[in-house]
Symmetry: C2
Subunit: 84 residues, 2 copies
């Protein structure tokens, strides 16, 4: 793997894994009132378009990061939908 | 501009602008308790690495999206630092 792809994978790991503590926090507290619903929905739409962008450009880092991020944001959205 | 770059810029606009309602909400309510501090810090670190990745790959969409996102996350972090 070239160093540029490695840089992208590290970047993607950070932005993706950053949502893990948010999922844990939302799951534990069942409190997501301070999370903007508009943010979550618009962000998820953007993540899915980044995924398409990565597929078109055949960019492994972009594909990997955005597919996992989409799942995590989906989890946060489902907690917010259930508990407000 | 080619259609792939356009797709990336649309994707970047969505993920970047998604943080605007979160900034507004945090600013208005001064309440960010439900936002994970770990998420914000790790996410910002990742965004800065994505910015480096975009510069190395000379990818306009990645550079534009991540430079603006870094500013917005910085704003949210400063509100959280001040108001908890």
């Amino acid at each position: 793997m070239d160093s540029v792809t490695a840089l992208g994978l590290i970047a993607g790991s950070l932005t993706t894994l950053s949502f893990a503590p948010q999922v844990v926090r939302a799951w534990r507290t069942r409190s997501t009132a301070d999370l903007s619903l508009a943010m979550l929905i618009i962000f998820l739409a953007g993540i899915l378009l980044w995924l398409a962008y990565g597929v078109v450009k055949e960019d492994l880092a972009i594909i990997a990061a955005n597919s996992i991020t989409a799942v995590l944001i989906g989890l946060i959205l489902s907690i917010k939908a259930k508990h407000g």
